[in-house]
């Protein structure tokens, strides 16, 4: 895995070094998306060469802003003809360096395509363009009683979330992007426009043909540009209750989680914070949570069903030696209860001011979660690493927030090695090296280990079929 944060190079992309053919295509780009729709400025290119990850900035050679799928297709045709890499860009909030133009090329910034199309209230679906973010969509839907619940934290582009198969804190109840994308409009590397489930189709289920929709979900821009996504919507919860509970051990917390799920409680969020993280949160927010493994829970439903959900859950936590079970119904108290979880990232960073943070992202079957967390914590202590843990424990997915000094090469190396050990530990426990962040730049080798050579060959075959010139976001995933 390459963290690449020890140097900040622009190497061959700065100044007047042009990739062959680039100066010929700029006028062609301008004739497609207008004078204002093309930029060569250094600041703009830099902005589009980085995301929220620790990977170094790899600016593209040029940034274009198409305004419609027809323009995307026309631009792609030009790039295809001149063999220029194509890098789709949504909001730049990814965590795995997915927008880095490692071989230069053309960044397609899709933010000007920002319409919410076709809200179908009775069918619980909506179609959006890439410029629409999760929060913008939910605001748009606010008087329909519907919402799109997948919440990866950042206010990400929904098409970008489809491209990375994003997830979030309430996947345990509402699923990830994989379960919630009904159809995609995709532009392939040669400009061909396809609808993965057929144009305009938005049924809740289908048995028609190969599942192209889910081929593109999670493809991280390596198979095509997503220009529309049709999403499954849900009813806004009537009421919410949040709760917090402390446990004597990781095992007890995870056992409680498993039992809550087995009891059929339709829990909306169940988040785990380890003692190191709780300690960080206490310091950061002057709180006084008991410094021990803690679960943060959220319940959605009608008033009556909430009562039942909370009662059943409280009993389960008590049976597992849980203590200090606190719950709240009104928005303000709920906010206070969950403050620790909301500020976890910042609390971790505050442990060592001036440092950067990198989040690991493994996921294992629930039954293996206690083991992997315990072994991981031992690894952290042994290698003198700062890595408070926050996890979507209902999915078996957890993040170590690795706080490190980017100038301390030794620490950087230790973190790198730790992360690889962690990924392999997860793989050995029937898990995955990335639960929700994607493969991006840094986990390609781990993907090969996870999938095995045969599956990787199939993936490469698909890539070669859809993008024989390897123009779509080169250097990522495979």
């Amino acid at each position: 895995m390459c963290l690449g944060i020890s140097s900040h190079q622009f190497s061959e992309h700065v100044g007047t070094h042009w990739r062959a053919g680039l100066e010929r295509v700029i006028p062609a780009f301008r004739s497609v998306c207008g004078e204002d729709g093309v930029s060569l400025s250094e600041a703009v290119r830099e902005q589009h060469g980085r995301d929220e990850s620790v990977h170094r900035c790899c600016p593209p050679d040029v940034v274009v802003w198409p305004r419609s799928v027809e323009e995307v297709s026309a631009l792609a045709k030009i790039c295809h003809h001149h063999c220029l890499p194509i890098i789709p860009f949504g909001t730049g909030t990814g965590l795995e360096g997915g927008v880095g133009a490692v071989e230069g090329g053309v960044c397609f910034s899709l933010r000007n395509m920002d319409r919410v199309l076709d809200v179908h209230q009775e069918d619980f679906d909506v179609t959006v363009e890439p410029g629409v973010t999760r929060k913008a969509l939910n605001s748009y839907l606010r008087d329909t009683g519907l919402w799109f619940p997948v919440d990866p934290g950042a206010d990400a582009s929904l098409c970008g979330m489809a491209a990375t198969s994003a997830s979030g804190t309430n996947a345990v109840r509402y699923g990830t992007m994989r379960e919630n994308v009904l159809n995609l409009e995709v532009v392939l590397a040669d400009g061909t426009i396809i609808h993965t489930a057929g144009r305009g189709r938005r049924t809740r289920k289908t048995s028609a043909g190969y599942n192209l929709t889910n081929l593109f979900v999670g493809s991280e821009g390596t198979l095509g540009l997503i220009t529309k996504t049709t999403l499954r919507l849900y009813g806004v919860p009537e009421a919410m209750v949040s709760a917090v509970c402390t446990f004597p051990s990781v095992q007890a917390a995870v056992d409680s989680t498993v039992q809550v799920l087995q009891a059929g409680v339709p829990i909306a969020r169940i988040e785990f914070l380890d003692d190191v993280m709780i300690d960080a949160c206490n310091r950061f927010n002057s709180l006084s949570y008991p410094v021990a493994p803690t679960l943060f829970l959220e319940f959605h439903g009608s008033e009556k069903s909430l009562e039942e959900q909370v009662t059943v859950t409280e009993e389960i936590t008590r049976d597992n030696s849980g203590s200090d079970f606190n719950w709240a119904r009104d928005a303000e108290t709920r906010g206070r209860l969950w403050k620790a979880r909301h500020d976890a990232w910042y609390a971790a960073l505050a442990l060592r001011p001036g440092c950067k943070a990198y989040s690991t992202d493994v996921c294992v079957p629930l039954s293996h979660l206690p083991q992997i967390i315990v072994e991981t914590k031992e690894d952290l202590v042994l290698n003198r690493l700062t890595g408070p843990i926050a996890g979507h424990v209902g999915d078996g997915n957890f993040h170590c927030i690795m706080v490190m000094d980017p100038n301390d090469q030794d620490e950087v190396t230790r973190v790198q090695e730790f992360t690889e050990r962690l990924a392999r530990r997860a793989l050995a426990l029937d898990g995955t090296c990335t639960g929700e962040h994607g493969v991006g730049l840094g986990k390609r080798a781990l993907l090969r280990e996870e999938m095995g050579p045969m599956a990787i060959e199939v993936m490469q075959g698909l890539k070669a079929t859809l993008d024989p010139k390897n123009l779509m976001n080169p250097g990522k995933v495979l």
Partner: protein, 253 residues
């Protein structure tokens, strides 16, 4: 002390990029997403909260405008209002409808419905007038608590914490009174599907301004609407001396 009247206005949604019509007579509204004015949402939320605390028996949502105004009333009903009143104003009358006429309508309705409290948003995000609440109170000769960030009922009085330039001002006014909602008063609830279904069954009465004895002729004429001037590109200079020279040149220093 039983009834609250809440005014809700249908406006262009806050997230929309507003465009001026080519003839400069107004802004483009056809095919553009509309929703309830955000400050009206806060007003509705406050009224519903007061009812939930059993301080009032009924919340009535009122909107003035064409047929589509009933959509906005339905949203208010889904948030918890009990019934609605749609005061129909269409066409040119609607285009020239402003705070003075609307406050005459609200004043008439407040008397007719024997409201103890009228809650409005402090201003609408389309015209930013910030006048309707104040004019309504004046027409009724009722006290007003505007820019409210906190509202508390104390017997037959209302304690209002107002957001003012210097900080916060707390006043106590007699009911009946007019209150206008400011941003920090509350966080409006989302309408949930079951409540939207229930709202379909709630009643919306229909009437015209004339039925209330209100004359809605406008005393204002909009002459022209323009977009703000386009921002000019900045100029980069190489050195501090260049910067000083440019500033002197432009007469800034």
């Amino acid at each position: 002390m039983s009834r609250v009247l809440v005014g809700v206005k249908r406006v262009i949604d806050y997230a929309v990029k507003v465009r001026v019509k080519p003839d400069h007579s107004g802004v483009v509204t056809d095919g553009v997403k509309h929703s309830m004015n955000p400050f009206c949402e806060i007003a509705v939320e406050e009224a519903v909260k007061l009812k939930e605390k059993k301080l009032f028996k009924e919340v009535v949502a009122v909107s003035c405008g064409p047929a589509q105004a009933t959509e906005t009333i339905r949203t208010a009903l889904a948030m918890g209002c009990d019934r609605g009143i749609h005061v129909e104003v269409t066409g040119k009358d609607y285009e020239s409808l402003g705070p003075l006429q609307v406050s005459k309508i609200f004043a008439a309705l407040a008397k007719k419905e024997e409201a103890s409290l009228v809650i409005l948003g402090k201003q609408a995000i389309d015209d930013d007038c910030n006048q309707t609440g104040q004019m309504t109170a004046a027409l009724l000769d009722w006290p007003q608590g505007t820019f409210a960030s906190e509202v508390e009922i104390e017997g037959d009085k209302v304690k209002v914490v107002r957001e003012i330039d210097g900080g916060l001002e707390t006043i106590k006014i007699n009911m009946p009174a007019v209150v206008t909602a400011d941003l920090r008063l509350n966080t409006p609830r989302y309408a949930t599907l079951p409540n939207i279904m229930k709202a379909k069954k709630k009643k919306i009465a229909n009437m015209k301004p004339a039925d209330l004895g209100v004359d809605i002729v406008s005393r204002l004429e909009v002459l022209r609407v323009d977009e703000p001037p386009t921002r000019l590109a900045g100029v980069k200079v190489e050195t501090v001396d260049d910067l000083v020279a440019k500033l002197k040149e432009s007469g800034t220093i």
